[in-house]
Every structure is written in structure tokens, then in C-alpha cells.
Amino acid sequence: MMTYTPPVYPYTKPVELTGSPRHWPVIVAGAGPVGLTAAIDLAMRGIDVLVLDEDNTVSIGSRAICWSKRTLEILDRLGCGERLVRKGVSWNVGRVFFRGEQVYQFDLLPEQGHRRPSFINLQQYYVEQFLVERATELPSAELRWRHKVVGVTPREDRVTIRVATPDGEYTIHADWLIVADGSKSPIRGMLGLESEGQVFHDRFLIADIHMTSSFPAERRFWFDPPFHRNQSALLHRQADDVWRVDFQLGWDADPEEEKKPERVLPRLRAMLGEHARFDIEWASVYTFQCRRMRSFRHGRVLFAGDAAHLVSPFGARGANSGIQDVDNLGWKLELVLTGMAPERLLDSYDAERTVAADENILNSTRSTDFITPKSNVSRTFRDAALMLAKRHTFARRLVNSGRLSVPATLVDSPLNTPDGEPFAGRMMPGAPAVDAPVTGDRGEWLLDYLGDGFTLLLVTAQPPVETLLRELRALASDPISCNSVLVGAADTTAKAGELRVTDPTGMLAERYDTCPGAAYLFRPDQHVCARWRAFDLGAVRAAIVKATAQTPVAERQVA
């Protein structure tokens, strides 16, 4: 018996086939994790968004299973992180085996004071189901199932989209089209665009098995194990006692043969032991590629997720980076659609996310080269590193069974304001905000306070003076509003307008290298875009102008 029954979402005959079509600010092609996240983000901003998907259910098989801390934080902002975490299996520990024995283990999150674990494992179908249910709560989002995009015509002022349904075809227009239709991206093909890169000559069998087992919730990776000689294997625990197994097969394997139960079962028995009792829920054979489109923005058509870039599965950098794409895109589209920022702000989506994609591709390619050595000498060094890793800690840093997804720090982003004063630590302009425990009205974690538009985090030693509060209120009533969060002693008298938090553990001060008076400016996607040792109203305003790609007033006058 299967542990999961996929929902069937209803097809509805579109109004366009009976009445007049309406114009949409944003249409999203593809109701996978990336497309749905984009729709939720935009709908929460009050932007009407239509999602078109040719299917009427969620993913078949577990597919993407490892959801990173950053993904959970993004989904927290979108109101559905907790549901994933409750259903998923949290893990921080990974174990690496070489031949018959464990060579080392690692802890991905050795420090305390973070709301979310480094990863949860959860089958992609659950994630999609939860995202669909979240999107359905939002009046600005509409999901249309069995609506297949069959034509896209980009124009200067809009995108015209041809859609096929069981009742016939119709035409619809949008200001912006987000293409999240997956690795084969039919729309990318329709537009004659390519995703360029490297195909890896290897095949992997993945299987979901239902098994009650006492194995702990850890990532286990085997190089050359006795049960699968000269290849690698990976085991992950997922929700509902479903386990995910990946077996490297080699390039010469026949994918159709390897999927058959009579081939899969002996491999699983060898891995799990003769006494393990399990059922196979799903098996698939895949190859992989590392590639990306040269640009993710083509006029009013914006590519995201696998449609824009592909990586190998080692490192969980596929779906996680796709969700970071649309986290980056949502607030920019809002500002452009509301006329608050020029269209060129969307060029920064391309600039920032292609750099992130390159980082993911680099890490993923290196992992693949370690897991599947392409020459004898490469295999010799690989085995040498694994043998040394058991006794010598230095070699553990060389072993690469996947460099697990961490969000890109957008160091060279054109939206950053460079530091004027020295700061220590990782929270440089471009960095995604790292969490810290706080106390305050909105929640117990710093990230609860960031992400509602631009946010200024200001460290105050004394109760703030009236002039400062007046300036913060001025920021809040600017056309592009900036909220303030004051970090101070618990006894400062609360005033309406500004959020107050305290830093009871000192972790916030440590992680952000703050001092009394220090100010951090966060973008709506919780990335740092500027910071100062002392607050200055003009500097904050200038940084917001920069972060929204607006021409500074002075330059405009010159022009």
C-alpha cells in the first residue's frame, strides 16, 4: 500500500472560453515548488497572479527531498514553513562510509540559536501539496490545472500566452511571465533559448521504499560499499517511514532494466540486510547535467528554477536554489509593477541569480567529479582522501559527497552599498540574514522581524530620543517604505510604529558584529544591502535608492 495518495486538483473551464479574458500582472508557468512559491510571494504582496500547469496533481515520487534552512526561512516568511518542518524529518548529521566502514561524520549546524535545522527531508509531493494549499488561501492567487502553455509571444509592453485546455485553446495576456516549467522547459524551447553546460556520463537509480527501521534521521553516503562495489550509494529518511535510496549505476546501465523490481530488490536487500522488510513505492533512473541559461531575464519573460539552471542532485542545490530565485524576484516585481522602481531592477534578478547558479553549478560539478572520478588518477586521489579521512581530520575537508546547499552571498550585487566602516563576520552586504534568538512582540527569532518590505535594524543602548524616532517614522512613510526594528534593553518604553526586540543571548550582536548605534538595512528578501556603525537618515535613503535600481536624484538632474 502506498503511504501517500496524490490529490487530484479540479480542472475548471476558463472564463476566457466563455467571456472576455482579463489581463494579469503576472502569470506563472508551472506549479512545481518554484512556481508555487513565486505565486504565494506575489499574492501575499497583493499582486494578482495566475499559475498555469498542464497536470492536475503533485510530483510523482519523492524527487527533491532535502529542503535547506534558507528554504524553510523563506517559506516561514510565506506562512508555510512550520507545516513543512512538522511533517518533515529534521537532520543535521551526515555520515560518510568508505568500503565497509564509517570514515567520519559531520554536523551541519554545530551552533545553537537558529530556528530552523540545516535541513529537513520531505518528499516533494508533500511540499507541492502544502504550497498549493497555501496559495489557495490567498485571494490574489489563482491556480489553473490542465492548462498547458502552448505558445508565448513576448511583446514590448506585455506577454501573450496561448493556453490549451480540455475545452480548447485560449489567449491570455500578462505584464510579466515567470517560467518555472522545469528542466526540459517547453517554454524555453518555444522561445528558441538554450541552457548550456555539461552532461555527466553516469546514471543513478533512485527509489522510495517504505520501511520501519531504527536507522536514525541522518544522511548516509557510501563510497564503494561492499553491497554495491565500485559505485556510490545514498540513504535518506523521509516522512511516513519512507526512505530514499540512490544507487550509482554507471553510464552503461540500461535505465529500463534497472528500474525493474527484480533488479532493484537485490540491491536494496544487500544494502539494508536480508531481514529488512520494505515495499518499493517508486523507482526511477536518472542522469544529470550542470547547465544554465546565459540570462534569466528575456524582456518580460523571467526564468526561474530548473528551467533556468540545472545541477546534479548532490548538495540539494536544485529546488532550494529555485526557491531562492523567486524569493529574489517577488519584491522586485512588486516594486516594478507598482511603479516604485524602474524595470531595470529586474536586471539585478538576472545579475544576482546567475552568480548564485554559477556557485551552485561549481559546487555540484566538484561533488560529481569526486563521486564519479573521470580518470584513474582522479579515482586514486579520491580513494586516498577517503582512506586518510578516517584518521586525519584534514582529509575530511577534501571528501566531497555533496557540498550541501547554502544560500549565495550576493557580494558583487549592484544593489549593495559597500561598507564604509569595518565590520567582522559574515553579514556583509549581499548576505542573507542569519537568524538569532530575540524577544519581542512578533516572535522569538530575528527573521520574524525582517522581510516585511525594507527593514532597518538599529541597535540602541539608550531609550531612543524623539529626533531619532521622528526620522524612523519618516522612513516608514517614504514611497518605498522602510520599517524599523530597534534592538535594545528590555525596559525601553514601547512606542507605536517601531518594533522592539531584545538580544538576550548576545548572539545577534555577535553574528552581526554590532555596536550601540549600528544599523543594518535588509531588503524585502532578508538580504543585507547596507550597514553602518551609526544611523544616518540620508545614508539609509540613498541605500534604498541603490537597492531598488533608481537613479539617484543628483544624477537625474545632471542628465
Binding site: N376, T380, A384, H392, A395, L398
Partner: protein
């Protein structure tokens, strides 16, 4: 730091003999593995990426036939 190319081992003959002895009774495959482990251990000990890069480049010198020089272009003419 730069790669030291001057004599630095006090008793070079002793070292050389021990290096060869290290591989005694090993198959070619085992020797390759021991060499790889040795390189990784020493590389970590050195640590300095500039020194390691200089050593890697020096190790490759004279091993491959030099690549053909690109033909002079018209622009570089007389």
C-alpha cells in the same frame, strides 16, 4: 611564501632510499595510492596555496611536449 627549490633535506640519500622503500612489495596500483596519500598529507602540511600551485606547476614542467605556439598574426608583422 615561495616554493623552496634549494636543497632543504639534510640527508637526501637517506630520504630517497626511504621513499623508494616505502613502495616495496606494493603493486603499481597500491603505489599510486600511497603516493596520492603522501601528496595529500604533505600538501596539507604546507597549506599555502601559492606554494602548492608553484609545486604543481613545477611538477608538470617538461612532462608534456610543449603545445604548439600560436602562429604569428598579420598584425604582429614587420
Amino acid at each position: 611564501m615561495t616554493l623552496n627549490r634549494e636543497p632543504n633535506i639534510a640527508a637526501p640519500d637517506d630520504f630517497y632510499q626511504e621513499l623508494i622503500d616505502l613502495h616495496r612489495e606494493l603493486t603499481d596500483e597500491q603505489s599510486a595510492l600511497v603516493n596520492a596519500k603522501l601528496i595529500l598529507l604533505l600538501a596539507n602540511h604546507i597549506g599555502d596555496i601559492d606554494v602548492l600551485r608553484a609545486a604543481m606547476a613545477a611538477a608538470r614542467e617538461d612532462v608534456m611536449a610543449p603545445r604548439d605556439e600560436p602562429a604569428p598574426t598579420a598584425a604582429s608583422g614587420p
